[in-house]
């Protein structure tokens, strides 16, 4: 199906270019009475076809048609095919050579781009893996160390010390749970085999679920919520999207220093639902802003343990999830201070529910 469409498109390009060349040549011939450039025009048309279509097929076909057309209509003797004249033969060979060479060149270029994208993905995966092994080890150290301390010296610790150690275990294991959730979503999407399963989701229910989850982790953090009045249904894989919003909210709590307001706003814009999470904290460093969704590479110039709860993984997970939904995500600094994260998902038309 897809292949057929491509053939139709390439065929249209070929016919269009050749017709254009033909018309132009006719124009030159009848209006200006020059005919020396006919071959050049056709060579150019063949070149265009070779660049714009895939493979050699259409370029070479255009070259043959062009040769015959030039031979037939524009070179002496007019309106008859005669390959015996050396000039005609040469222009034919030139056109076919152009078609083959251009086709080879563009094919090579396209292949090169594909491998470049593949190696970019590979690099991101390696970055993620490195980040993960670091980020997993840190909380595990706490958990392992704390529990052995309790087992071996539990009796000599004061009640207060014990409580502090246990709280540490709880917090770090919560962090691990989130990390694993994030990783699961990424592998689920990245593996390519499991596609995003979109089901119609009610916006209000999504936000409700997000806020309940967020409250569990940050009971004291207030969030302002602004939703459209009418019911909005968005086809999505609800669990990963929920995770995206929680990740962004959490990112604000951990990194927006001096934040007093955290706002989650969703509004409709045509066929799209725009999700906006904004804070009035310290904003994002311009240098960091460039690579904020692409992974962990900025960590190289940071001190390894300066930020245990690095935003790197969380936000690159967000980008992966939103892209897999065919949406778009961006981060900006607000002129009034603070940062805003924005992503867009397509909504579903409300039709068959008024029975």
């Amino acid at each position: 199906m897809n292949k057929l469409n491509k053939y139709i498109r390439d065929g249209a390009i070929t016919v269009g270019s050749l017709l254009g060349a033909f018309a132009l040549s006719l124009m030159f011939q009848y209006i200006f009475d020059v005919r020396e450039h006919v071959t050049t025009i056709f060579v150019f048309a063949v070149f265009l076809v070779s660049v714009l279509t895939d493979g050699y097929l259409f370029g070479v076909a255009a070259a043959f048609i062009g040769t015959v057309a030039v031979n037939y209509a524009f070179t002496f003797p007019f309106f008859s095919v005669n390959f015996m004249i050396p000039g005609n033969l040469i222009s034919g060979i030139v056109m076919i050579a152009v078609a083959v060479l251009t086709g080879a060149l563009t094919t090579k270029l396209k292949r090169h781009e594909a491998t470049k994208a593949e190696s970019e993905r590979e690099r991101m995966r390696a970055n993620l893996l490195r980040a993960v092994s670091h980020d997993l080890r840190t909380p595990l150290t706490t958990i392992y160390g704390s529990s052995t301390t309790l087992l071996e010296n539990g009796s000599v610790l004061t009640e207060d010390q014990r409580l502090r150690i246990i709280t540490g275990i709880k917090e770090d294991s919560e962090w691990l749970v989130r990390m694993v959730e994030n990783l699961l979503s990424v592998t689920r999407i990245d593996s390519g085999q499991v596609k995003i399963m979109k089901t119609p989701t009610v916006l209000e229910e999504l936000i409700d679920s997000v806020i309940v989850k967020f409250r569990k982790r940050y009971p004291t953090q207030k969030i302002e919520i602004e939703l459209p009045d009418e019911m909005i249904i968005i086809p999505m894989d609800a669990m990963p999207i929920e995770q995206v919003i929680v990740n962004i909210l959490e990112n604000a709590v951990q990194h927006a220093v001096g934040m007093t307001r955290l706002k989650l706003k969703v509004y409709e814009s045509g066929q799209n639902a725009v999700f906006e999470i904004s804070d009035d904290g310290c904003g994002i460093e311009p240098k960091r802003l460039e690579t904020i969704f692409t992974g962990y590479n900025s960590s190289a110039d940071e001190v390894a343990d300066s930020q245990k709860k690095n935003a790197g993984i969380g936000l690159s997970v967000c980008a992966t999830i939103i892209k897999a939904h065919g949406g778009n995500i961006e981060a900006q600094n607000l002129r009034t201070g603070g940062a805003v994260f924005r992503f867009v998902l397509e909504t579903e038309e409300m039709q068959d529910d008024t029975e």
Binding site: V212, L227, M231
Partner: protein
């Protein structure tokens, strides 16, 4: 004293988790019976007849669903499923096969005990009269008069349509229990769920929430589990 405790059969193959959950339950004054495999659980179930079963779905000898079928063949004993799977489809399958509730690993003590309490209370109600005594239901300022089919929140009547009332009544009768979309649709509209009926339910729920003045993220009467169903908060 022992006789007054609820007996809970805990089926879990990971010994660490089994010990942990047993400790959580015993600390909350429940009596626990422990099983590590499906076949062990079956024989323990028949000899002890527990008040509640906590079941891990991934067991070494056979799928936990098997035990679910075994118990549901002739008993309504509440079953809570423990699952590491975050996949909605698995939760729905377990609920539709007769599980009362599920808890996703990892979970905290508070979460598990709340589900256990709700499941036990639910079983008590549904085995006695089928609905809350004297035809009324009360919960945190929510009041339902089943005979008059009227609903009040903090003394104020809420005007609901037929369908909306039916949904609210159904959820209240199963208060604390997770009701899947399919289960609600079957009870309200009858028959099998068809294309579009989930959306019909979602629209009705949106209207109910609006009438109750529920706000996203607040302590509401209705809890939604995305892609699975609804539950009335206890």
């Amino acid at each position: 004293m022992i006789q007054n405790k609820y007996k809970i059969l805990l089926v879990e193959d990971e010994s660490n988790i089994r010990n942990l959950v047993a400790t959580m339950l015993e600390a909350a004054n429940y009596q626990t019976i422990l099983a590590g495999t499906c076949s062990e659980a079956k024989s323990l179930y028949t000899s002890y007849l527990p008040d509640l079963v906590i079941l891990d779905l991934g067991l070494p000898d056979m799928d936990g669903m098997n035990l679910l079928d075994f118990i549901r063949r002739d008993a309504l004993t509440p079953i809570i499923v423990l699952s590491a799977r975050t996949n909605e489809a698995d939760k729905i399958a377990a609920l539709d096969k007769g599980a009362n509730d599920y808890v996703t690993k990892p979970f905290g003590a508070g979460e598990l005990l709340a589900r256990v309490r709700a499941a036990l209370r639910n079983a008590r109600f549904s085995t006695s009269v089928g609905r809350v005594s004297d035809g009324r239901f009360e919960l945190n300022g929510l009041e339902i008069d089943y005979d008059a089919r009227r609903v009040f929140v903090k003394g104020e009547e809420i005007k609901l349509t037929q369908t909306e009332y039916n949904i609210v009544a159904l959820l209240s009768e199963n208060c604390g229990k997770m009701m899947t979309y399919a289960a609600i649709i079957k009870a309200i509209w009858g028959g099998v769920s068809q294309e579009g009926s989930v959306k019909k339910l979602q629209v009705n729920m949106a209207n109910i929430r609006k009438k109750f003045g529920d706000k996203p993220g607040e302590q509401n009467y209705f809890v939604n589990e995305l892609g699975v169903g609804y539950r009335m908060n206890e």
